[in-house]
């Protein structure tokens, strides 16, 4: 009798083991699901934060630099926006001169800079001259890069309207690369009362009243699949989109770059004469 009881206590029965294993498996399964979910959430939060950081940076860069645009320049330093298309949509470029100090290096007196937004699209074939598209929407494609270049300029020595590019080695050429999908600029023509796709203030003689910027950020294949599943077209609504009213361009229809400040100067200081009169 005693011996029998000892034998029973020496181990678990098959049923006990199976129940214990089943409970263990359920617990581990629940914990593992929870853990995977936490890791996924953390990854989504990280990429969202990164996207937010890029959005904020681009927004501030565009708004600050376009608001401080230097209107009284012609030729290659005028506001020139070109309408181009890339593999994922618009890949516009824009260049202008602004009076904001160069990023990173605080203001040097009398120095303005030329800002350039240029898209580098590796899927654009130089030889054939056309875009190479993937057959499938979710197919792996080379990324598109937005190059933001800030080129310091100094005024010519004889005080004329000419700008000279500062010595790149001495002054530093500031450049930043941001992976994006598409970039579109639209310009509001105050005289035609309409939005146009490109602008050349050297030819037109005046600045747009406002500029509309639409950016689609670079996305991973996973994010694209999610967007596709949600029925969100990548071109429909930009990730980053805003309208900037140009303080020096708004309300101006003259071909002489007259902005409100110069009008004030014309009426009060120069007694009716225009500061650009000598040129015309």
């Amino acid at each position: 009798m005693r011996r029998l009881a000892q034998q029973r206590n020496s181990g678990f029965t098959m049923i006990e083991m199976m129940v214990a294993m089943a409970v263990l498996v359920i617990l581990v399964g629940a914990l593992y699901t929870c853990f995977v979910s936490v890791v996924n959430t953390a990854e989504i939060a990280r990429s969202t934060t990164e996207a937010m950081r890029i959005q904020r940076y681009l927004r501030e860069h565009f708004i600050n630099h376009l608001s401080a645009i230097h209107a009284q320049v012609r030729g290659e330093y005028a506001l020139i926006g070109e309408d181009e298309s890339g593999a994922y949509g618009p890949a516009d470029s824009l260049t202008f001169v602004t009076s904001l100090p160069t990023s990173g290096a605080r203001s040097l007196p009398g120095i303005v800079k030329q800002v350039e937004y240029l898209i580098d699209d590796p899927s654009f074939s130089e030889e054939s001259g056309f875009q190479t598209f993937g057959a499938d929407e979710t197919e792996e494609k080379p990324s598109v890069t937005l190059f933001i270049t800030e080129r310091p300029l100094v005024l010519g020595e004889d005080g004329d309207e000419e700008f000279f590019e500062a010595d790149e080695e001495a002054e530093g050429l500031w450049q930043r690369e941001i992976p994006i999908r598409s970039l579109n600029f639209e310009y509001y023509d105050g005289t035609a009362e309409d939005w146009v796709e490109d602008w050349n203030s050297d030819e037109l003689g005046f600045l747009p009243w406002a500029i509309k910027v639409s950016i689609n950020l670079a996305k991973t294949e996973e994010q694209l699949r999610v967007d596709l599943a949600d029925g969100v077209g990548t071109e429909e609504e930009p990730d980053v989109g805003f309208t900037i009213v140009l303080p020096t361009g708004a309300g101006v229809i003259s071909p002489d770059f007259i902005d409100p400040n110069h009008r004030r100067q014309t009426e009060t200081v120069d007694g009716g004469s225009n500061i650009f009169e000598d040129e015309s």
Partner: protein, 140 residues
């Protein structure tokens, strides 16, 4: 020779019902705390995401409002599409100061963003603009 010691020995070999219940209760409460914390973190993340999206859309609406005032439209509205479907915006501008003969192009603009739940977010700001009716004729 009694039966009692033998019985006690047999009872010691397994857990009682109370012991098992206590263990399950502890495990259950621990799991509940873990899952509710996780759920709370998820909700917090979603709320933060939504508020960031709202503030970005509000800033976009401000740009639209500023442009609207520039071209002489003192009221306007619109809606966002695609991933931001359900969000709508509207603005109202009121001229401040000046007389009818010599108006000052200074406006108070109030922008409202309505999220899909019908909650409003409002931002008020001032704009100084020479509107399209009063464009500057340059060139002299």
């Amino acid at each position: 020779m009694s039966v009692r010691p033998y019985r006690e020995k047999e009872r010691r070999g397994g857990f009682t019902l109370v012991e098992v219940l206590a263990a399950v209760a502890i495990l259950g409460s621990a799991l509940f705390i873990l899952l509710s914390t996780h759920h709370g973190a998820l909700r917090l993340f979603e709320a933060m995401n939504a508020s960031v999206v709202e503030s970005q859309l509000l800033e976009r609406a401000v740009g639209e409002a500023e442009f609207g005032v520039l071209i002489g439209e003192l009221t306007g509205s619109g809606e966002f599409e695609g991933r931001f479907a359900g969000y709508t915006w509207s603005y109202q501008g009121a001229p401040l100061g000046g007389t009818e003969e010599t108006p000052i192009p200074f406006y108070q603009v109030e922008v409202t963003l309505r999220n899909p739940d019908g909650e409003d977010q409002t931002l008020s700001f001032y704009v100084f603009h020479i509107s399209s009716n009063e464009v500057i004729e340059g060139g002299v």
